[in-house]
């Protein structure tokens, strides 16, 4: 019900064209910014934990030259365990994921993340019912940044938490 605040302010895009962002050690220039068509998912009659799994398979994914800047909203008597790929920081052997339980009281500005292509920042979710039977509706709204890899390191660039650093899947440390 986040949009019903009296002084509700729209969610503004964080990046504008001709700005730069660092993702996994690479620099990208924002070529275009446009609103994203909302993504919604609804599940009813939930009587036990539902592993939704990878939300890319439910349609929440970006093209390889696009970054989605999404805010999620949860409705329903459930809590949702989100795992954000890469959000756990650099761990032994790769890049860990972060897992957090959130419910519909979580403000959507705290559920904002960047998804690039089908490899960076993607989400995994599990629905845990608070009452039985429960229902759940997830909604993602935000912006699409069309990006292009920059030729050189720009003077200023955004460094989004979790996904800015370079990493290798074959870490030898």
């Amino acid at each position: 019900m986040g949009e019903y605040f009296f002084f509700y302010k729209e969610f503004n895009p964080r990046l504008k064209p001709r700005e730069f962002i660092q993702i996994r050690g690479e620099f990208y220039e924002i070529k275009e910014c446009r609103p994203m068509l909302p993504w919604t998912f609804k599940r009813t009659n939930i009587t036990s934990n539902v592993e939704l799994g990878d939300l890319r398979e439910q349609g929440l994914k970006a093209r390889s030259n696009e970054i989605l800047d999404v805010r999620l909203r949860i409705d329903g008597p459930v809590k949702v365990l989100f795992r954000i790929e890469g959000a756990g920081g650099d761990v032994f052997g790769g890049w860990g994921a972060l897992e957090r339980y959130v419910d519909e009281t979580a403000p959507s500005n705290l559920l904002e993340n960047l998804i690039m292509g089908d490899a960076v920042g993607w989400l995994w979710a599990k629905i845990v019912p608070l009452v039985i039977p429960a229902w759940c509706r997830l909604k993602a709204e935000g912006y699409v940044y069309v990006v292009e890899k920059a030729g050189a390191r720009p003077q200023t660039y955004a460094t989004p938490a979790y996904i800015a650093s370079a990493y290798t899947t074959t870490s030898t440390r």
Binding site: E3, T40, F41, K42, T44, N45, D75, G76, P77, P133, A134, W135, R137
Partner: protein, 103 residues
């Protein structure tokens, strides 16, 4: 703001009738409800929310003969209905006017 939907239904069968089937991906908040009893006896009317195949009675109203009850947003259930809103009555005919926000 969600999508506002309003309609009026004359229910002339005793028992349960569908009021609104919520379209996929939406959830519905009941914002206004008006029930008129056209029968010759006191009517007991239940508002039922469906969650998939399971149902829950969220409200029971008693409406006297010839009377109309109007319920506004703060008198209606706060929770959202995910699948279907139905009405159950023990008298007929009744007229149900409703306004729903789909979000």
């Amino acid at each position: 703001m969600g999508v506002r939907v309003s309609d009026s239904k004359t229910i002339s069968v005793i028992g349960e009738s569908d009021l609104l089937v919520i379209p996929a991906d939406y959830i519905a908040y009941l914002k206004r409800l008006s029930v008129s009893n056209g029968a010759t006896a006191l009517a007991t009317i239940q508002i039922i929310y469906y969650n998939g195949t399971s149902k829950k009675t969220v409200m029971t109203l008693k409406v006297a003969t010839g009377e109309t009850i109007v319920l506004k947003e703060d008198e209606l259930p706060l929770e959202a209905c995910p699948t279907k809103i139905a009405v159950s009555t023990d008298q007929q005919p009744i007229v149900v006017d409703y306004s729903v926000e789909l979000s």
